[in-house]
Symmetry: C2
Subunit: 319 residues, 2 copies
Amino acid sequence: MKEAVIGIDIGGTFTKYGIVDRNGNCLVENSVSTDFTDDVNEYLENLYKNIEKSFSPFASEYEIKGVGIGAPNGNFYNGTIEYAPNLKWKGVVPLSNLVQKHYKVPVALTNDANAAAMGEMLFGGAKGMKDFIVITLGTGLGSGIVVNGEVVYGHDGFAGELGHITVRPDGRQCGCGRMGCLEAYASATGIRRTVYKFLADSLDDSELRNVSFNQLSADMITKHANKGDKIAIDAFEYTGHVLGQKLADIVACFSPEAIFLFGGLAKAGDFILQPTRKHMESNMMPIFRGKVKLLISGLGEVNAAVMGASALIWNELDK
Amino acid sequence: MKEAVIGIDIGGTFTKYGIVDRNGNCLVENSVSTDFTDDVNEYLENLYKNIEKSFSPFASEYEIKGVGIGAPNGNFYNGTIEYAPNLKWKGVVPLSNLVQKHYKVPVALTNDANAAAMGEMLFGGAKGMKDFIVITLGTGLGSGIVVNGEVVYGHDGFAGELGHITVRPDGRQCGCGRMGCLEAYASATGIRRTVYKFLADSLDDSELRNVSFNQLSADMITKHANKGDKIAIDAFEYTGHVLGQKLADIVACFSPEAIFLFGGLAKAGDFILQPTRKHMESNMMPIFRGKVKLLISGLGEVNAAVMGASALIWNELDK
């Protein structure tokens, strides 16, 4: 029998899953609803049923060796999801235990950004690296930090909250209840806020003046930047300025070989890379300058989250 | 034969050394001049001679198993001292190699703050901890970061430069060539600058108005704070405010069990601890609040640096 694992990425609306072999080939991928019920057992029954259906064409050839799970507020140490604001399950959910009882194989769980870092290390651009950081620029800013080949989980399992280091103590309101966090500036939501700030501050003409805040997306901002829209280009410069300054601090903490940008905003490519790199370099301590690669993630957008969750459990199985 | 190691702490003016057993008992400690020569071999010959003299009463009972060295700009990976501004040896000095050739035992070298962290873990307040940070508040601000029981060295050996994360991009001039670094505020030098800022900004009476900048020391500021001097007390509050804010960011990165303060400024005890703790807590992301201990180092001031250097090599020998 060949070996494979199940990778599961739990989001607020959908849960993606896939069956992935040791070389990172995804045999099958699919998704189910996350929020159709607030009963975690009912959710899992439906998930198991769908996984079984997806796996059945491969069942004669492959054996499932483990399950990896990426989830918001996932605690690696306890295998729990703890007080996740975007999920209907309240309090502390012992998800690893529940899944382990069903499949009777090892289960590992962490948050989506840590899973992305494992995916980058096993299957993406960080192959062979021991010290690197993955920054996910989606609705918020998540991060997975790898030191000496291991994800940094910290004392309580919640290390790596780079989205919540402070840019300005009296700055933008953040979803975490504080003000001025990095993710309020550097994320898909952050750049939308920046576009609106510039629409307010300047009188520059822009087609973005016809778009409501709720309609505005990071992709739309990239599209208008490509067409030469000054507000859109300035918004990327501002986002890269804030992000680059903070990455310079983060380099002083971790001295990584590379920092990978991942997620919605990373799709803007050079629009985000160039200003971020410029301000990271100019704010960095001299001994670190020119040493740290700033790269776009080497994982495809399509099934990166499932690849990350799979990498998480492959890494545990290989220990 | 009983086992011991040599711990060496290289400073700009003096080099301290000691013979330390596995339980952290320092059999003997002494010091030699560092800056009497700019020839590293001449310096080492003198150091070896003195160590031999100090060790001779113990030579029949103890065997030297290794040498640990703490040095400015010490690179753990290469065993080199690289471009240390406060030492007379220029460029890259392969110190571990030189010492290893002489003693023919394992040699480990790192910077003084990383050595302090190892000392804290083996012999101080961090016994049994796997995730903690030591902040040294001396002339500058150094840091040793331990994740999962290992010092974070990063890709190039220079991780953990927390003194050079930015407080204000346009702030105080820093010795590293940039502006607004944390150590320009939170260090023995930083609080002297803050006292002078307050003497300039306010008209408050203070005995410190009779002290020149060069005469002023952190001990003197503590002494006047103890006597109720408003400028001195305000300077501690300001220092704790800046340090606490940045520690909150550092907690978001590493989620440590404890942060230890060490060095000259840490001797001020509650004057520095209380404002730092208050502003760390109030700036921290809610999930980290009330979880992270802020403590004064458990290593004695007298031979802490030598204990740190010894711990470094004991830790390597025990791997």
